[in-house]
């Protein structure tokens, strides 16, 4: 068996397989993007449902996770533009994330909060490039922008994170 479902696997079984494999990764991405746990769950739910509805048009020219992340990022973008999202508390804090024991270190907390404070276009490339490890070409395809734009955004995001950690510039909302 190779990289695709067997012909006799039902789409629902395939969806369940994807949920079990990638739900946690998508929840992490959406929570950092949307800064709200309930919104993140909604985004992940809608991501999987969209993938399920588009399952027969998935060409397999990328890994399933890559495809799901692309859907999730678009879903998060749509939600941030929606009227409902305007009522979300814009203050950025780690409170939206599930409590961990022991709590994260101060350094990790500072950097993670700085990442969450980035505007969407920088947040996307930071998560996809530095966290998920995608290459610039892949990120360009996922976000529908040029490789040059990805490179520029990474460079600027790096600069913004440096400033956040060392103090100075106001963070972006």
């Amino acid at each position: 068996m190779g990289a695709i479902q067997a012909p006799d696997q039902t789409p629902l079984e395939r969806l369940d397989q994807w949920i079990q494999a990638y739900e946690k990764d998508l929840l992490r991405l959406c929570c950092l993007y949307l800064r709200d746990w309930n919104a993140a769950e909604d985004a992940v739910q809608e991501t999987f449902l969209k993938a399920y509805r588009q399952m027969d048009s998935f060409r397999g020219d990328s890994h399933v996770k890559t495809w799901l992340i692309r859907i999730a990022v678009n879903q998060c973008r749509d939600m941030r533009r929606s009227a409902w999202y305007r009522y979300i508390d814009p203050r950025v804090s780690i409170d939206c994330l599930p409590i961990t024991t022991p709590p994260p270190t101060a350094d990790h907390l500072a950097l993670n909060t700085a990442i969450m404070r980035l505007s969407p276009k920088y947040l996307e490339v930071v998560l996809l490039y530095y966290y998920e490890g995608y290459r610039m070409k892949e990120i360009a395809q996922m976000l529908g922008i040029t490789e040059a734009a990805v490179s520029t955004r990474i460079r600027k995001a790096k600069q913004k994170l440096k400033n956040e950690l060392e103090g100075g510039e106001e963070h972006e909302k």
Binding site: G2, L15, D42, R53, M79, K158, L161
Partner: protein, 435 residues
Amino acid sequence: MKNDHEIMDRVRAAVDDCTRGIEETPSLRYRILTQAKGDPPMKKKLSTVLILATVLMLLVTGAVAATLLHGDILGWLFRTDRSEAPAEIAALVETAGESRRNELSALTLNETLFDGNTLSLSLTLENPTDEPMVYRIRQAKLNGQYLIAESVMLPYGSSAGELLGGEADGQVFPKEATVYATFTAVSDYPDPLDNAMGSTAAIAAPEEGSIPSLPSRTALTATDEAEFSVLVEVFRPVDPARLTALGHEAFLDPSSPATGSGSAESRLIPFDSATVPSLLAQIGSEEYTFPIRMKTAAIPTVSAQPGTYENDLFSLELDSFTLSSVSGMLEGCITVPAPSAMKDRLPEDLTFFYAFPEDVYEQAKQDNSVALALRMGNSGGGWSNGPGPDSPILCNVSASFRSNTGSLPRGVYLVWMTGNNGTPDWDTAIYIPLK
């Protein structure tokens, strides 16, 4: 400033530390599956051909009868719980059953279906060797011209190939797989989906200062004699001991000594110039050719009259709406600008719409479910309410639909969503007659 690798390590450590409380949520999984179940079921069903093949199997032994069982192209196209495909569609299925092989690969053309617009094929790929091999199918051609795919199943295309044979983590992998593909046109240039290493060389660079011309595409037409060919590439894993299994999928571990990357995470290795030489060694390729027949068929189509349609809340200027029955499935396209308020204001968050064939509308409304709506395909544009109640931002929305009901409706209801809960607001329904 730290280099990228150092930043990557720091970001991963920080994010992982702060998000380690995130776990899979059984209730979320349940909600997703429950809502997905509300969509039209996509069970594989027996096609007329497969039923006949099963009968033959009981009476005749041999490779031909067994080959017929690998077909079921109607099962892939329809994926419904209907007991049979429309008779006019089943009649278009051509059963080939021809095989080609060499010492490294074997390919059987099971079935073809040409509906006057698209060509669908079912192929079975087999590993005749005793060791695990990775296969990729590329460059489908019709009479020497590249075929442009509408939808395919792996291992067709430029990225990951199919592992056949061998075993990993105690799981034995089958030695064959069935590939389905639907093509919509032919072109002088390879399908962008097929744009693998080196294939861009086939596209000539434009002369300096000239405007590059778009590759031409020609629609498929019926013919009694045509030649279908496809390239099968064979790769041997450099280190088969690094095969791992995850669920139903097989992976090549990039932490193989061949790569020395040190990464502990298994992931599917895409085909590109960097990874193929390190993990996979190409040991063969073969272009297999099959004769096929593409019968003549007419595509029934219905469309809406362009103009103004309205409900109690708003009016809509419909630019175009057509639905065609292609291989028994509905495909369509709609272009419509944003609605105009008829009363004091539009509903808030009027985001997107569903299209319900008229024969299922009442049931859908009663169930308050979108399961029976036409499945939205590619869509673009959109609209949103501006700062005031009567200042919507206008955009054109175009969308394609697919449905496996197979029968053309006499009309559809467009029903909009309001809010972000994903359920339709039935007060926004607008009826569009079709003929």
